[in-house]
């Protein structure tokens, strides 16, 4: 349902994605993994049409996002649901109104239908009891779940998750992972999970892409990934500090920086 075809992108002079190609099919939950700054969030913004590819095409449900005008772009976004890293709840609206927001903006649904739908979605994430709270009164994990309920309010065909696991306690982590899987199976669409949480995502996804420096360096099903001997994948899964991904950013030699070298 989502296809990247030789996509390149950059902010100013800095290239972020280089000739990236990948595809996500209906029914799949796909994880995009990579270190910080490897272009994962950029990839989601390209799908949502908030950014446009420099070269290559991004296809969503068969339509090229790059050639859309504003109207068709907004039409395409109705098929998308996105969970932001920190939830991005509207702080001036209650939990109930947050989840009702896309329903009310979308169409002319009667308020009784909106109410039923909101309670259903809140029930799905287990927060029906928090309906009247304000976002400021929620913990980070609860806010994320409310944001998830809001993202699925319109039953989108394609769900995008931006770092859904960061900053969650182990219990919320497992619950969120299960929710992502169940929602995808229930909606019958496709889900893209951008994450660097290896253990949790391998448990729920169908396919994994590893991103480094804006290109796919490795891919495979969770079982293939676990068995992989690819140095990058091994480093990532075993959380080793040394490997193809350097822990240190390029800098002058440590000794020089600390003035330890003798003249």
């Amino acid at each position: 349902m989502v296809v990247f075809d030789d996509v390149s992108f950059g902010y100013g002079e800095q290239p972020v994605l280089r000739d990236l190609s990948l595809r996500i099919d209906r029914g799949q939950v796909v994880a995009i993994m990579g270190g910080s700054g490897s272009g994962k969030t950029t990839l989601l913004k390209l799908i949502g049409g908030q950014l446009r590819a420099r070269t290559g095409r991004v296809l969503v449900d068969g339509d090229d996002v790059g050639t859309m005008n504003e109207t068709t772009l907004y039409g395409m976004r109705r098929k998308l649901g996105m969970l932001f890293q920190f939830g991005a709840l509207f702080t001036d609206l209650s939990v109930y109104d947050n989840v009702a927001f896309p329903l009310r903006e979308r169409g002319k649904l009667p308020e009784s239908v909106v109410r039923d739908l909101v309670l259903m979605k809140l029930h799905a994430v287990g927060l029906r009891g928090a309906a009247q709270l304000m976002p400021a009164e929620l913990s980070g994990g609860m806010a994320r779940r409310v944001a998830l309920a809001r993202a699925i309010a319109l039953d989108p065909a394609i769900m995008l998750y931006d770092e859904p696991f960061t900053g969650l306690d182990p219990i919320s982590l497992g619950v969120t992972g299960q929710l992502i899987r169940e929602l995808n199976d229930a909606l019958g669409g496709a889900s893209i999970v951008v994450t660097h949480d290896v253990a949790e995502s391998l448990a729920i996804v169908d396919y994994v892409y590893f991103l480094a420096d804006g290109a796919v360096v490795a891919q495979g099903t969770p079982d293939e990934v676990r068995a992989s001997t690819h140095p990058f994948v091994k480093q990532f899964i075993n959380a080793e500090p040394d490997g193809p991904v350097p822990f240190h950013r390029d800098a002058e030699p440590y000794a020089t920086a600390l003035n330890l070298e003798r003249p």
């Binding site: 908030q50 907004y74 976004r77 109705r78 998308l80 991005a88 509207f90 903006e105």
Partner: protein
């Protein structure tokens, strides 16, 4: 960048070119706000909420400041006028200075610091916490849903606030002039009424306040929308709103006054 014009502009340095780029972006932004305004004004409850924030919550500071400014004007004016035996013109002095100048200008300055900064901070924080992005991804245009109602809320509130300021100021002048200094109430009001012209003074004052409301609201929503999505970014944008608004209000005031009262 090979053509002579862009080279000439570049030689002016980064501050100038950045300011020009920002001005151009502000114009483009104004057009996009105006384009979605019919939608925003159709859903008037959104604008109502912004009138509440920008207008209703500014009433107290406007009313109190207006009263004080009017009282001070009356006290100071009386000192001067009484030397020429013209203390009965005190009402004229207070009313003309308030209706023509102080009402619109001080009203707009207070509005910029009370409501304009709040508008900038709110939009800036919504951007920093990805709320605007989230709206976009939900196929809701944030300019139509968030920015345009705030803009029109400000534009509608400003002339009403300026009128309240002037009215309270004149009332303050009446309190000091008539109640405290013992001028005759009848001559206070009648001199004022015969000297203040409805079209020339009151309507021009209202036109001024509409222009200021337009300018301050645009600056406030633009700075919020343009703010870097960080804590310093938002606080810097809030400061810029107040400073830029003050400069634009005073500059516009010179232009409008020259245009309205020249040669008469």
């Amino acid at each position: 960048m090979t053509n002579p014009l862009s080279r000439a502009l570049q030689s002016l340095g980064a501050p100038v070119t950045n300011a020009l780029i920002k001005l151009g972006f502000a114009c483009r932004f104004l057009v996009s706000v105006l384009k979605v305004s019919p939608f925003a004004l159709c859903r008037f409850s959104l604008t109502m909420r912004e009138i509440w924030f920008a207008g209703v919550l500014s009433v107290l500071i406007i009313v109190v400041s207006g009263l004080f400014v009017g009282m001070v004007l009356a006290l100071q004016g009386y000192e001067t006028l009484v030397r020429f035996g013209a203390s009965s013109s005190l009402g004229v002095l207070v009313a003309l200075s308030l209706v023509r100048e102080l009402g619109p200008v001080i009203g707009a300055l207070l509005f910029a610091s009370r409501a304009g900064s709040a508008i900038t901070a709110e939009i800036g924080l919504m951007k920093a916490t990805e709320q605007l992005s989230a709206m976009e991804m939900m196929a809701v245009n944030p300019v139509a849903r968030v920015v345009a109602p705030k803009f029109w809320g400000g534009v509608i509130s400003m002339p009403l606030l300026a009128a309240l300021f002037s009215a309270m100021g004149i009332f303050g002048g009446y309190l000091v002039g008539v109640q405290l200094l013992g001028l005759d109430a009848g001559s206070f009001w009648s001199q004022m009424q015969s000297a203040v012209d409805f079209r020339l003074d009151v309507v021009n004052g209202v036109i001024k306040s509409v222009c200021f409301g337009f300018a301050v609201s645009l600056i406030a929503v633009f700075e919020g929308y343009d703010a870097p999505p960080t804590a310093e970014g938002v606080s810097g944008a809030t400061t810029r709103t107040v400073v830029t608004s003050a400069l634009v209000i005073l500059g516009l005031d010179v232009l409008l006054t020259a245009f309205m009262f020249r040669g008469i």
